[in-house]
Amino acid sequence: VTPASGQVPRLLLVEPDSLVRRTVASVARSLSIADIREAGTYDTADLLLHSDAFDGLIIALTDDGRGIDLVEQLRAGEMESARDCPVVVMTGRCDESRVTALRALSVRRVILKPFKVKTVLESVAQLTNGQAT
């Protein structure tokens, strides 16, 4: 993540749970970890990713595959963000097939649900420090 000098990274958080989403965004802002735009649906995320460039993506995955589709489009260079920008996913399951798919998409970190907001914030901080692996 390489934001302009003196600026915090701009990240997109795609998470349907408004309490999780708002808390992560608010705390990241108050601690100057990142400037987080919020998307509660994949449709909103799709619009934002096609209209704006972000330094990283944090996205909750559902079983319908739409979240994976968005990451695939990002990696294919079909979005405004850099195709190699860091991606963190949050998911309720992570079987072998999903791990293989996420690895192929160079996902930096997988956070399993249920998770704590603090865990997501630590991942955001690692992303912005370039430490997530």
Binding site: L19, R22, T23, S26, V27, S30, L31, P114, K116, V117, K118, L121, E122
Partner: protein
């Protein structure tokens, strides 16, 4: 024990609280959800949305506590209202203000308390979003920011104002 002090703006504070028409109203999912979220996020056995009335603290939402109110003078939240910032008591048994408080020496045997004040735009503090544990604990800066963010969401629900969070 130090009884919960009365703030200098008590009359205006109570008026602001009464104008919200929230005291003694039934549970609401939007508040229950915030309090349940706080309890889960912090692994706290008790979490409350506490409103400080003239002689009592009344819980609009609660996790882990059966009673819906306690006397104001023994309330931890009454101290947080006067502190005007998040009050953290890492070990009540070692704090002279609370060591012989009946909520410490008896049920629910409070040892740890963290209360973020519910402050309106006019400065009135109505109560707190608070965490309680039966063992000593501490919070780091990220924890305090998370508690503050959840408090901001509760205030926004109470006032209907979805704007910038309170500092």
């Amino acid at each position: 024990m130090t009884p919960a002090p009365i703030p200098s703006d008590e009359s205006a504070r109570l008026n602001a609280l009464y104008e919200l028409l929230i005291l003694d109203t039934p549970p609401e999912e939007r508040y229950d959800r915030i309090v349940a979220f706080a309890a889960a996020e912090f692994d706290a056995p008790i979490a409350l949305l506490s409103l400080i009335d003239r002689d009592r603290q009344w819980f609009k939402a609660r996790v882990g506590l059966d009673v819906c109110e306690t006397a104001r003078d023994i309330s931890f939240c009454g101290h947080a209202v006067v502190a005007r910032s998040t009050l953290v008591v890492e070990d009540a048994a070692l704090d002279p203000r609370f060591a012989d408080n009946p909520l410490v020496t008896g049920a629910p045997h409070i040892r740890f308390y963290a209360g973020a004040p519910l402050q309106l735009e006019d400065g009135s503090i109505l109560g707190t979003l608070c965490l309680i544990d039966t063992r000593p604990r501490s919070l780091d800066s990220t924890d305090l920011a998370i508690l503050g963010s959840l408090r901001d969401l509760a205030v926004m629900e109470m006032t209907g104002r979805w704007g910038a969070p309170t500092p």
